[in-house]
Amino acid sequence: MGWFKRLKDGIQTATRNKKEAPEGLWYMCSNCKETSTMKELKENFYKCPHCNYHVRIGSYDYFDLIFDGNYEELYEELVSRDFMNFTDLKPYTERLEEAWKKTGLGDAISVAKGKVNRRPLVIAAMDFKFIGGSMGSVVGEKIARAIDHCLENRIPLMVISKSGGARMMESAFSLMQMAKTSAKLTQLARAGIPYFSFLTDPTTGGVTASFAMLGDINFAEPGCLIGFAGPRVIKETIKRDLPEGFQTAEFLLEHGFLDFIVDRKDLKETVSDLLYFFDSN
């Protein structure tokens, strides 16, 4: 095998590993417990063919769903570092090593530039399987650089959020990423470049309380969890069960914090329409 072939295979393997979508022959829905074949699931945009439950997928799955074929990944070289020597039950370094190995991802967010029905778009998409999609310095920096890229090239930005919140192992640095990303987004707003915030399951904590809620358009996948405090924390605070449907996308739409909810099968068309509207002048 020539080096080029090996290289190409290597990249393909890496990309396949990076995806979060389930693998195997059969899929049992965690919502309705019905079984379908993986082929059916995949052809149905990784939604349960029986109950339309949106199975959790990763950044590269979204890139494939939204972009017209090819896309160029940006800022892949940025990776986290345990600069605080943070150790709980495990050193942060070890958690990072494990996450890199297990996911093949550089961090909890990937940025790519591509086209959607021939219109350019930059997407920054988060991965829950990388330390719970937590936001540390790398997530903040990649979003900041994506914004700079959009400013320089006048390209709209879409961020796909999927996060348990801030990365505790980077302490106040992760907190400051809320300020950093929000402050950078004001530059896009001032330049008149649209920012689409797409919230997926789950979006909580510091991510919700910064860039995820700041879209010119905020939209979400059906049924996904969106909140500031996690449901467990709220339950412990109020000492009773949470109401049915609390903190779902539908709940947020009803309370005025989302523009709309979109089924995954219509995602590309929706993004394409948004790009069309904002592109007309």
Partner: protein, 325 residues
């Protein structure tokens, strides 16, 4: 007086002092020499204790029940102050207060978390945990300050934004995010000081500014040591370790370049000499305003955004192919 666990040696010295003073009052024995000696002992002991505080002990100090809160500092710093209430939408949040004040003739908009001074008031103030209405009131006041060119001063002291059904229904996350967004572009100077607890989104929701300071015995972190312990250690018993691991003290934050300075507290903490603390706080706030006041609004905003954009530490890996596999 309330003594924290690490202040126990002080407590017994104070008890001795009290007894001797009582003896002095009752009889004709001259106790002045003994009193002087004990006073000295207390002063030295306090210095010794306070020169060696752990992260967790500073967290305890930041929560000291006698610690001064926002409204106290305002009353000391401003000859005139008019509190302004309400978010003009839903209600008046009691955990964040704000209003127009005068700092030696300079009108400023002062906004801060407010904790209660007794059991009843602590409940009334929701323990300093603001709801979205509090953040929206803060934003309303900041936008007013912007219209009239008043510098904004925020005093941060919260165990976190309120976690509850209503807070979620009313958009706690949106309220905090909106404040960060608007504060980044506010055309007047913003000076922020952590005067007690700086917990997470609830703190930074009024904490983005041109200059950010911390009082010496305060903390600033993405999560409280207790919650961090419960999540990462899966038990509430590791708060001391969590406090160390989080590196949440003013010294750490300054070393990391995440704040612009530390305001030293009197030995014994802000509560041991609140008037002196208020003077030190006021001096630093005035100095900070004067440092940024002469910039144009555009220059100031650019510097502000650049400051936050530079926060973060990471590695740059050569390339995917040569990399980890």
């Amino acid at each position: 007086m309330v003594f924290l666990d690490f202040e126990q040696p002080l407590e017994s010295l104070y008890e001795q002092l009290e007894k001797i003073q009582q003896v002095g009052e009752e009889g004709d024995v001259d106790v002045s020499e003994m009193v002087r000696e004990l006073d000295n002992k207390i002063r030295n002991k306090r210095k010794e204790i306070y020169s060696n505080l752990t992260g967790w002990q500073k967290v305890q100090l930041s929560r000291h029940p006698e610690r001064p809160y926002t409204l106290y500092y305002i009353s000391q710093m401003c000859r005139k102050f008019t509190e302004l209430h309400g978010d003009r939408c839903l209600r008046d949040d009691k955990a964040i207060v704000g209003g127009l004040g005068s700092l030696d003739g300079q009108t400023v908009m002062i906004i801060g978390h407010q904790k209660g001074v007794n059991t009843k008031m602590r409940q009334y103030r929701n323990f300093g945990m603001a709801n979205p209405e509090g953040y929206r009131k803060a934003l309303r006041l900041m936008k007013m300050a912007e219209r009239f060119g008043f510098p904004v001063v925020t005093l941060i002291d919260t165990p976190g934004a309120s976690p509850g059904l209503e807070a979620e229904e009313h958009g706690q996350a949106e309220a905090i995010a909106r404040n960060l967004f608007e504060m980044a572009q506010l055309r007047v100077p913003i000076v922020c000081v952590v005067i007690g607890e700086g917990a997470s989104g609830g703190a930074i929701g009024i904490g983005l500014g041109d200059r950010v300071y911390m009082l010496e015995y305060t903390w600033y972190s993405v999560i409280s040591p207790e919650s961090c312990s419960s999540i990462l250690w899966r038990s509430w018993d590791f708060k001391e370790q969590a406090a160390e691991a989080l590196k949440l003290t003013a010294d750490h934050m300054f070393e990391f370049g995440l704040i612009d300075g530390i305001i030293r507290e009197p030995v014994g903490g802000a509560h041991s000499a609140p008037e002196e603390m208020a003077k030190l706080l006021k001096r630093q706030i005035k100095k900070a305003i004067s440092e940024v006041q002469d910039m144009t609004p555009d220059e100031r905003i650019e510097a502000r955004i650049n400051k936050y954009a530079s926060m973060g530490v990471f590695d740059v890996r050569p390339s995917e192919v040569e990399g980890k596999e």
